[in-house]
């Protein structure tokens, strides 16, 4: 999230840039340490920004803020109940079916990779000399025997961490929606008079940027899901590989992967190709078609969807982006990968805010003048 215009100048100060990067990476570490709280908190903030326009529309129809929140909560509870009764049971049964099929999928994936590597060895002598197929099999067996179990344990621990804490999401969102304005006022009360107006302005700018970013990301995810889902369904429904909802679900997972810039869409593509490889190992043409589908959606993403939703103003330099993602991943694992860019965006705006307020000599002079007035007032009867 990068602000445009004159405020960019404030980020030219090297100390501010170092502080912005250090702040973003430091908060990845902190968020990782309290992941059980950070995960629902971030989801609640995203939900807050998504739900806010609905409440505003209700209010403009003449409903009070409290009533608007009540109507929304009522509708959300009814929809959750309907979802739990209708869609959830079939989703759970599909999930448990998928879980049972994981070993079979894994075996088939290994066979597909081995077959392709053997074909490569047959064609190129360097591949034969490198014993690619045997090497990979050995590596996979080693992985399964040692760290594979560890990874599975990590994933299980990760799920145990965040699944129960998801219950916090509606609770936090409710209070953000209900008391957000009061909390905003409370925070602003701590701002000295000299910086008050400027801080209000910058807070508003930050709020607008976060709102645009989260709503944009939501829109982008939906567009990616629909494009990929429809594409996968179109390619896979005739050979019986994907049903409509399977394709949409896979599209959604790939769209979520794409939250991680550069690396994410590649990982999503690999996942989709691997799924096709496992479900229809003989249809290499289909695998190529899926690769082209991903490239096509990537281009759409780049030139149509992103400018339509998140906008180009939120872009960072690719070098900074890649460095931040890798550093984030190293420090915070999955959290770091997903949060590196949004956190860098938030800290950039905070850095701008601080620089604009603190490096304004007139505002600082007024701040110090207030201090002197307070001192004079406190020592008035002391005769000094």
């Amino acid at each position: 999230m990068k602000a445009g215009g004159s405020s960019d100048r404030s980020l030219e100060h090297p100390i501010i840039w170092i502080a912005v990067i250090a702040g973003a990476l430091g908060s990845i570490l902190i968020l990782k340490a309290v992941a059980w709280l950070a995960f629902p908190l971030i989801l609640a903030i995203v939900l807050y920004y998504l739900v806010q326009p609905l409440l505003q529309s209700l209010q403009s129809a003449g409903v009070t803020p409290g009533q608007a929140l009540g109507i929304f909560l009522g509708a959300a509870i009814v929809m959750t109940l309907i979802f739990s009764v209708t869609i959830l049971p079939s989703m759970l049964s599909s999930l448990s079916e998928f879980q049972n099929q994981i070993p079979a999928y894994w075996d088939r994936l290994q066979i597909v990779i081995r077959d392709n590597l053997l074909a490569l060895e047959g064609r190129f002598s360097f591949a034969k000399n490198a014993k690619l197929a045997d090497g990979l099999e050995e590596q996979l067996n080693l992985f399964l025997a040692s760290s594979g179990k560890e990874y599975v344990a990590d994933v299980a621990l990760f799920l145990l961490h965040w699944l129960p804490s998801l219950l916090l999401v509606p609770f936090l969102t409710f209070f953000f929606l209900r008391d957000g304005t009061a909390f905003h006022r409370l925070v602003l009360r701590a701002v000295p008079n000299a910086f008050f107006e400027k801080t209000l302005l910058l807070f508003d700018r930050m709020d607008a940027q976060m709102r645009a970013y989260f709503r944009g990301m939501f829109g982008l995810t939906m567009l990616d899901t629909v494009s990929l889902g429809l594409g996968l369904w179109f390619l896979g429904h005739k050979p019986g590989i994907f049903g409509f909802w399977d394709a949409m679900f896979l599209g959604l997972i790939c769209a979520i992967f794409a939250w991680v810039p550069y690396i994410g869409s590649g990982l999503g593509g690999i996942l989709a190709v691997a799924t096709v490889a496992v479900k229809a190992p003989q249809s290499s043409g289909l695998m190529v078609a899926v690769v082209f589908l991903f490239l096509g959606v990537r281009l759409l993403d780049e030139f149509v969807y992103t400018p339509m939703t998140v906008g180009r103003a939120l872009r960072m330099h690719p070098l900074i982006t890649v460095m931040m993602i890798f550093s984030g991943g190293m420090l915070g694992g999955v959290y770091g990968l997903l949060l590196a860019m949004p956190l860098l965006g938030i800290f950039s705006v905070l850095g701008q805010m601080f620089a604009e307020v603190w490096f304004d000599p007139r505002l600082r002079a007024r701040y110090h003048a207030r201090g002197m007035l307070e001192k004079m007032l406190a020592s008035k009867d002391l005769g000094i």
Binding site: Q56, Q59, S60, T64, P65, T181, A182, R185, L188, R189, N193, A194, F196, E197, K198, L200, L201, D204, R362, R366, A369, R370, L373, E374, L377
Partner: protein
Amino acid sequence: MNLANLFRPPPMDPMLKIVSEVAIFRDCNRAELEALKLHLHERHFLAGEIVFDEGEEGEGMYVVIRGKLRANRKGLLAKKLLGVIQPGESFGEMALLGAGPRMATVVAEEDTTVLAMFRPELMALANARPRLGYKIAMGVALVLETRLRRVAEGQSPEPSST
């Protein structure tokens, strides 16, 4: 216990009562003022402290609750006093129309309490409650019309023409 009291609304917050008497908000009803209250920021200024400077980017207006302020403009040789702002008066309304520079410097003459209203917050409120937005816009227009009239008649504008 007087049963009639049950149907009487609770007394209005004294600060909100002062706001309700400010020209811009005079047409707002109780419910609208209560909605407005959520977006008011109470600030305390010491005698001699600057509220805002002439030429600074303006972002909101203020209503004086307690104390006294004076509005100055830079003159050729010295500062020119535009006037004194008393409790129940407002200043800085021009900032509600757009982020132009402030027309004067406002300084607290004695310890002062003001309520600040910030333009983006008021705009958001006006979006959510268009009727209230219309009333505020009309209020600002009326205040500016009064000032223009005073200037046209050769009088100095009110001190709140900041």
